[in-house]
């Protein structure tokens, strides 16, 4: 069991006791951020650093439960202050403060994660924003890599869209499969109808006979 000793709920920090040890638990809740402390640290934290002592016994069966609780407190304290929805623009705007090394890592992650995982829109959003970052604009290598990945993402996104509708390089196949429709209605017209059906989710009606 993990016993709660003191918390700073607005930051999701907590001092806990587990297996006789007192530990500080804090975001990002990774192994390196878990710190062993002695009781005097907890006392000082409560007395001078804004932590609230836990008066009632609150325990958790595991780290996941504790972390979920602390995250709920982060959200709850902000909602109580009237802050309900974090501003996406504010968070994304930090990209303009990122140093070169971090921006380079972003490009690596786009290439190794976003593109292979078909996360086209995320890649496009990020890369488009990166083109406006001063550090990128002033660094030829970074800029060219951003442009290259943007082209790849755009190409991949377009190809994916075309695959979804099954249309690119498929005109000949379409005529082969639906010769009558192609002859009567024309390929472009039928393609437009197919797009509409896919978007609306309705089954494609057979071509009229006779």
């Amino acid at each position: 069991m993990i016993d709660l000793l003191a918390t700073a709920p607005e930051d999701g920090w907590a001092f806990v006791r587990r297996n006789g040890k007192i530990q500080l638990v804090r975001p990002p809740y990774q192994r390196w951020s878990l710190v062993d402390v002695d009781e005097s640290v907890v006392e000082r934290a409560v007395k001078d650093h804004g932590f609230t002592a836990q008066e009632e016994n609150v325990s958790f069966s595991g780290w996941d439960q504790l972390i979920a609780h602390l995250k709920r407190q982060i959200v709850a304290t902000r909602r109580a202050q009237g802050r309900h929805r974090p501003q996406t623009a504010a968070i994304r705007g930090l990209i303009h403060k990122a140093p070169r090394k971090v921006l380079s890592q972003y490009l690596e992650k786009v290439e190794s994660e976003l593109l292979p995982d078909y996360e086209w829109q995320s890649a496009l959003d990020l890369l488009t924003e990166m083109l406006t970052v001063e550090v990128v604009k002033e660094d030829e290598k970074l800029y060219q890599k951003t442009v290259e990945l943007l082209r790849r993402a755009q190409g991949a996104a377009s190809a994916e869209e075309a695959r979804k509708y099954g249309l690119i390089d498929e005109e000949a196949r379409f005529k082969e499969i639906y010769p009558r429709s192609a002859e009567v209605h024309g390929v472009p017209e039928v393609v437009a109808q197919i797009r509409a059906v896919i978007q609306q989710g309705q089954i494609y009606a057979p071509a009229p006979t006779g």
């Binding site: 500080l24 975001p27 990002p28 990774q30 409560v46 650093h49 002592a53 504010a90 968070i91």
Partner: protein, 278 residues
């Protein structure tokens, strides 16, 4: 008004300067590597600042409202828009530590006005209290009458079980600003010899071990020299920016990321450097 029971910590520290200096000279003379101890002291004299570690919301609040608050000031501020008194708010906040804290503060002249920090020459400070190490300008400590440095954490070391203060130890271990380097050198005389200079900052100030700085007077954002953050915390914050583009953050992470964006804006506006420490 000072009662006969109250200890004037700053007067005690001020009166200890000569004794600390004499002890330091003796330590230097008997140390195998006299020059190392001298260099350590010089480093502290040159670079020693008061640093206050803050969590993200505490720093954000400090930068937003422009003033540092100790526990009592915070409680009085909260009481202005609460149905509870400041005393009730402090009592709830401190829980089982309330009596000890209030008693301790009552033992000192101006005890309720104390602010606490740590003597710092570089590094991340006392990270168990906050991931941001806010380093105050030297003028904050050099130009104030009420500044004292204690060899150890005051609550842990100088408070006796019967809630009295160990005045003898306190008197021995308190230093004025002018002699903080003597106190630090005496504290670490046995260790500093064997350590490379790049390890001196963490020897002096770390999560569990530090020289406590006690001071009074306002602290506002103009008193800040710089703010330090660890490379790991810094990298996580920018990783979260990437994840935001991906829609990969949960609501709590987004809220913390937004707070970091606000802090960065404040630091930019106030031209305060954010120093990233490996």
């Amino acid at each position: 008004m000072t009662t006969s029971a109250e200890i004037d910590l700053f007067a005690v520290a001020a009166g200890n300067g000569a004794a600390l200096e004499a002890a330091f000279e003796e330590a230097k003379a008997s140390a195998p590597g006299e020059s190392v101890l001298e260099r350590f002291a010089q480093r502290i004299q040159h670079d020693g600042r008061i640093a206050v570690n803050m969590r993200q919301t505490v720093l954000n609040s400090f930068l937003t409202f422009g003033q540092h608050q100790n526990t009592y000031e915070w409680a009085e501020w909260r009481a202005e828009w609460s149905s509870r008194s400041a005393v009730e708010i402090v009592r709830e906040k401190l829980g089982p530590f309330y009596e000890r804290r209030v008693t301790f503060d009552g033992l000192f002249v101006h005890g309720r006005r104390f602010r606490y920090g740590a003597l710092n020459i570089a590094g991340l400070g006392t990270v168990t209290y906050g991931e941001y190490c806010v380093v105050l300008r030297e003028e904050v400590s050099a130009d104030r009458a009420e500044v004292a440095y204690l060899k150890e954490d005051s609550l842990k070391t100088y408070m006796l079980p019967d809630l009295a203060v160990d005045e003898a130890s306190l008197s021995r271990d308190a230093a004025p600003h002018s002699h903080r380097q003597c106190l630090a050198a005496l504290k670490h005389a046995d260790e500093v010899e064997a350590l490379p200079e790049e390890d001196w900052p963490s020897l002096l100030c770390s999560a569990n071990r530090y020289i406590e700085a006690v001071f009074t007077g306002d602290v506002n954002t103009g008193d800040v020299e710089l703010v330090r953050i660890s490379r790991q915390d810094y990298d996580v914050r920018f990783l979260h920016v990437f994840e935001e583009f991906r829609g990969g953050l949960d609501e709590a992470e987004r809220m913390l990321a937004e707070d970091f964006a606000m802090i960065w804006q404040h630091l930019d506006d106030k031209q305060i450097t954010l120093e990233v420490i490996p």
